[in-house]
Assembly symmetry: C2
Homo-oligomer: 158 residues x 2
């Protein structure tokens, strides 16, 4: 696995930053918030609210789906998580706030992060910069991941 896929910080470190941000933002550190954030932070597959809820129910059986949605929305407002844009109906989320880009497999819908420093430092065409104030620029790559390609080949044979 190469440089471009390396994660940016340890979970421990990320949890501390999270708690710090909550305190500063006057967000109460509830059990639910901590667990929802931890679950999202440790996930690499950009889960939907429903997926997170399903994973957390194992250890928190009374956790409601609504709380997951509400909490994610709160986190988003405080720039602790991001909603990932997809063409599918369910929204997907990530706790990775460091500049990065996405590889999306159109077959299994998996979303993977990658870094591309040379792109990040390339200036935009001059006339685009006149459009307004630019907040960020991101690359989204669509295709079929290795795993799904392999599956397709097997299916063809049978």
């Amino acid at each position: 696995m190469s440089e471009n896929f390396t994660p940016d910080s340890s979970l421990q470190q990320q949890m501390e930053t999270f708690e710090e941000t909550c305190r500063t933002a006057d967000l109460k550190l509830t059990h639910q918030r901590l667990e929802i954030y931890r679950e999202l932070a440790k996930a690499t597959d950009h889960p939907s609210a429903e997926m997170l809820h399903k994973r957390l129910q194992k250890t928190m059986p009374t956790l409601s789906l609504d709380t997951v949605y509400r909490t994610l929305t709160t986190f988003e407002q405080h720039h602790l998580v991001k909603k990932v844009q997809t063409v599918d109906s369910q929204a997907r989320f990530e706790a990775q706030m460091v500049q990065h880009h996405h590889l999306i497999c159109d077959s299994c819908k998996e979303i993977m992060d990658f870094h591309w420093n040379s792109f990040d430092s390339t200036p935009l065409p001059a006339d685009i910069r006149q459009w307004g104030t630019i907040r960020n620029k991101n690359v989204t790559i669509h295709g079929t991941c290795q795993k799904c390609q392999a599956l397709k080949k097997v299916k063809k044979r049978t």
Copy 2:
């Protein structure tokens, strides 16, 4: 307005290509399909199904919203239109199939096309290419358009 924002083909030309594609794909050229496609093709704001429906109801009062959704889905399957990914709940559509990128205003939600040839011809980092088969790579820029910036300034003063 500069090179990067130039449209790619006239509406007339685009309608002819559309009709040709429908005939080849055994899609009946119904009044609804023609009008929905024309409305989307002439739009530059990447409308949602609902927005298209509203615009078309003026001339086609009995057109159902379901037909708009169903027709757009059919078009998408035949690569006549594309669903544009946004973080918002309503899907947005475009008839522009030539390679291009998007500027999204987070304030008014307007989506604008732009071209960036030097990016299009830049190869991806080698290890990304190993992820699988890449179908396309697109840049999405988020920010605030000039219009909304101007509005914000007015609001601050009052």
